[in-house]
Symmetry: D2
Subunit: 359 residues, 4 copies
């Protein structure tokens, strides 16, 4: 209830601050008997890791995963799985200059307003470092989903004004991880990398869009009314730092279509029911229909700019300051595994829930 847990049956709780002892996550409800390979988790964390390329923050967290509980002889036991990431490259001193000021478009002021205090070291709990814990948990959710043939792939679709004008079906998603910006189109990837490098050089930041595709999801996942599958995907995505928008299927552009164009015609293909188009984005009435699920997630430019700026301190005095430390010029390359992890957590939860629906 107090906001640090996600999911109902496959339920995670994350904890830890950017510059505290450690970050961690507890997964409660993961079925027993699932084989867990530490390297799988580590691989996902490495995709999110700072310092992985020239276009991301140069902080040096290794983010080595530690298993505290819930796994015995290589398999989940059905009891809570806790994973820990100790904080290493903390450099608390980097943050002393912001101790008393409210950085624009960060959570400094709102945390102070809410709690009457604030852990100013690197944003404390509001730091995007918390998402490492989600990625670790998502790695386990992915293992669970793989058992039912569900696969999740995200990629960078847009950086600033540079936008892919192709649908996921016209792209070769196996190319996504082959470049540092995680855009499956090699030419566009190069443009994006150049652009982000320029932005970085200018001490500025830029936004972007991540697209995500879920294949192999059976019909029947999602709950009617409030817990529609896409409603929980929306919440999952908007809960990621810097996220500003979500759309699935035809999304905002579907607004301009007529019903006669937008409706997806059903056909029977062997024993499977399919639709000839998929404006529905694989979800109808909040429930998956067996077609690919796809959605877009918008991210704003990172708030920490290295350029100088004006703001106020906690007494309300105007102060002149500038960003220090090592920050991402654009969040989307490292957010790709986070989007996948959150999608995996939603689907793992609903694939467990769906077992309880029929006699």
């Amino acid at each position: 209830m107090p906001g640090n847990s996600f999911g109902q049956l496959f339920r995670i709780t994350t904890f830890g601050e950017s510059h505290g002892e450690a970050l961690g996550v507890t997964i409660d409800g993961c079925p027993a008997g699932l084989p867990i390979d530490l390297e799988q988790i580590q691989t996902e964390l490495d995709r999110r890791r700072p310092g992985q390329s020239k276009i991301v923050t140069q902080r040096k967290e290794k983010d080595s995963i530690n298993i505290v509980s819930g796994i015995f002889e290589g398999h989940t036991t059905g009891t809570p799985i806790t994973l820990l990431l100790f904080n290493e490259d903390a450099r608390s001193k980097d943050y002393s200059h912001i101790k008393d000021i409210y950085r624009p478009s960060h959570a400094d002021y709102t945390y102070a307003a809410k709690y009457g205090n604030r852990d100013y070291r690197g944003g404390g709990r509001s730091s995007a470092r918390e998402t490492a814990a989600r990625v670790a948990a998502g790695a386990i959710a992915k293992v669970l989903l793989a058992q039912s043939g569900i696969q999740i792939q995200a990629y960078v679709n847009q950086v600033g004004e540079l936008m892919l004008n192709k649908t996921y079906e016209d792209l070769d998603l196996s190319q996504t991880e082959k470049n540092i910006v995680r855009c499956p189109d090699p030419e566009m990837a190069e443009q994006m990398i150049d652009y982000i490098s320029k932005i970085k050089k200018a001490g500025d930041t830029i936004g972007g869009v991540i697209s995500c595709v879920i294949k192999g999801c059976p019909a029947g996942l999602g709950e009617p009314v409030f817990d529609k599958l896409h409603a929980d995907l929306a919440k999952a995505m908007l809960s990621i730092n810097a996220c500003k928008g979500f759309e699935y299927g035809s999304g905002f552009s579907g607004v301009q279509m007529k019903g006669s164009e937008h409706n997806d015609t059903f056909v029977k293909d062997g024993n499977t029911i399919k639709t000839t188009s998929n404006y529905s984005g694989g979800i109808q009435g909040g429930i998956s229909n067996g077609m690919d699920i796809y959605f877009n997630v918008a991210f704003k430019p990172v708030a920490t700019v290295i350029q100088g700026y004006e703001t106020i301190d906690k007494e309300g005095n105007m102060v002149q300051t500038k960003g220090k430390g090592r920050h991402d010029p654009c969040v989307v390359p490292r957010a790709v595994p986070i989007v996948e992890a959150m999608a995996a957590l939603v689907l793992a939860d609903y694939s467990l829930l769906t077992r309880t629906i029929k006699l």
Copy 2:
């Protein structure tokens, strides 16, 4: 957990099918002592009611509200409030022709796939009629919020390609309810009404966008990490029938901005901390910052078109059919009070939760 409840502390559970005995909602957790005026609830329901104008469905539900529990001598008692709307103009026969077919882009197939059965009368539980229960509950949430000076106003921003090119600040929102399409710009409203009328005549439907503004929200609402205020607003909106997307503050267009442009500068205005711009949409780090909260909600064209179309029946045979009954050519005019209701439910929940955060 099973999907028919929303909220944690101000928690609603809706029930009822389109053509069953009644629709209803139970609110658990509404504070005791709140004055409740039956007419306030009825007024909100009338804004959502079918048959209210020439551009909406001509079904004739009166949607008269009945109070079953939780209100005594005109005030809430702190015990669960149940409100009922009996179904009157049901006309179950209108639906016999769809008993065995899966209408395209409806929930017919997914419900059947999920539950192994389906109440085919008017979509049963998947009918947008369920939102009447939300509007009734939202009316009570609004009364609670009004006590803290929080006000919620939604309006139609776009119908098909007809889009307001003004921000909410450049509009006179008091004009919203003065026309049947609920667009605060009288000229644009007229264009929209004409357009919807034509769409209706053609037996087709069209999508739209609703914008919503929340004024008077104090700083500090929303929970860090998963239950960010905008994440729950997103879920709330995406849980509304036909919704395809959500964006808040700068939204999808913020993607193209640089951090140096997008950051909202803090200033002190008397005793209040404000920002000079508001790309953050009133929420930073998932927590309200005291500025106006604003967001957009995309709706697809209604799936029921009166034109003929092809689909399959439950055995997979192709069938030729066409929409019958009385349906909305465009969902947004009647969805305005639904968007407001869902926003009110989110804020009511968080305004209770925020009482528990500090010593």
Copy 3:
């Protein structure tokens, strides 16, 4: 969260006050496809109904069940099931004399202290009349459990000092419903009936104990740590009006046993693992082990005595008053179906949850 819901996956929410429009319950999460017979529900309600015999309250509620939603063509649809009981024999005037006083050992004072107001008509929400809604929901839970061969039987074990000195295994539980006090031992039943009749004549009330046995529960139900099966049974029972205690298996008397006596020896019986004794009460480590589950529930004497008594009004003045209306001299005969209903709700919930535990 706010206290009017019970269960997680098979989740009920009750609403309504003793003298309001109606009492009701919504069940969310009941699997689709379950055949529901209105008469089964009514039969359970009739076991709880006032006026059923000379030793219970003579109020005349018929408690006829109305189905509002969730059942279509005789089967559950997977959507929320709402059941309503309209209040008929309300006689609000019976309660005007207690409008301003706090009756001893009732909830009058605590409701007023909690909510700052109080529906004084028959105790409002605190009335045991609320349990009718639980019995209705429990009837549906019983249908679900019967599909897996789980059966629940409760009976009166003690009234005042009159106590059965037999375990459930030495009793013929098929006799329970054959007498009005619901004690399966006919001789003891007669003594109890006489005793309660005397208590009633004296305008007084008396407590009692109900025992409950669950047969056919498979091994594996219940969650480790907090949600132990017996912990939720305890909560379920203590949530019934007038309940003061719970013990399962060896219970309070097991305290005096040595481990060497108390341990239940495992044996293999064909393909089944059993224990030769059952001090564990069918639950080990919070999880059912396949043996019979049994427990006792203590009920205090009903607080409403017809004799005169002294108390205070809301200004704190001493007042002399006496019980009016028609009240139970002993709660246990009518509480037997309530105990069964609450047990059924716990087991239905865990039998759904247990589907999610393994791969």
Copy 4:
């Protein structure tokens, strides 16, 4: 939902197995600004610690507390507090002899039946070692409650047949911690210690009862209907390993009383409303009334006896074995702080919830 969390607003999740890396707990929802003294937590853990006296298990866990998150500059920040206890004296080899057998009245068989696997080292997750995490969290709950003047004190009331025949009001509870059995009556304490020593010598175990008193609880805590304050206390207590029963106020003995005797007469004492007797145990209608809350908790004899015994292995073969390792001859001395911790967690949760009830 999956059973390793407790509480709603002051919500804990525990994790870890007896012989894994560490045990831990995350508290989500603790208000910001609470001063936390590591020594207070350690003191509570020391009361539960093995090896503290001759009548408890001689295992040598130091149970030193580590703070991972949520506390900054000595105060809670409002973000999740995670506490870790690393396992030191694990001696996994002690348990190899039980790898394939089901110990009687342990959770070996039920865990295997539920999960299809089992961490046999010291009972894994089913070990009472898990309660250390609860005691750590309870220590923080106590700090929160102390701010409102709420105090919780438990003590040993019975060991085997040795029973205090005094109410808590006739005892000097400040004596409880002055002896190793934690019975506030020095003479009875001595008898209990002698008795437990004999039981230990005989390689056997014995049960006991703990009483608990809560003073300073304001009127108004607890929710009507399902979440009655005593119902959640019951669940909390029954969730403790080896617990078999719970009664509050008059409890099981109240069954034999008449209503005219049992009713607690209200009187006004200055500005406070009190009752002249307290059979209600400080709770009426599920809500605290401002009087002392008191209850009893029954514990069975520990299942691990050092004597030889017969049981079966996982193939169902009879095997002869005996308890090894270092076990408690009687659980109650070390369970006193656990009972207090669980009571504190319930009250902390409800004291936060109660802030949301009125306007």
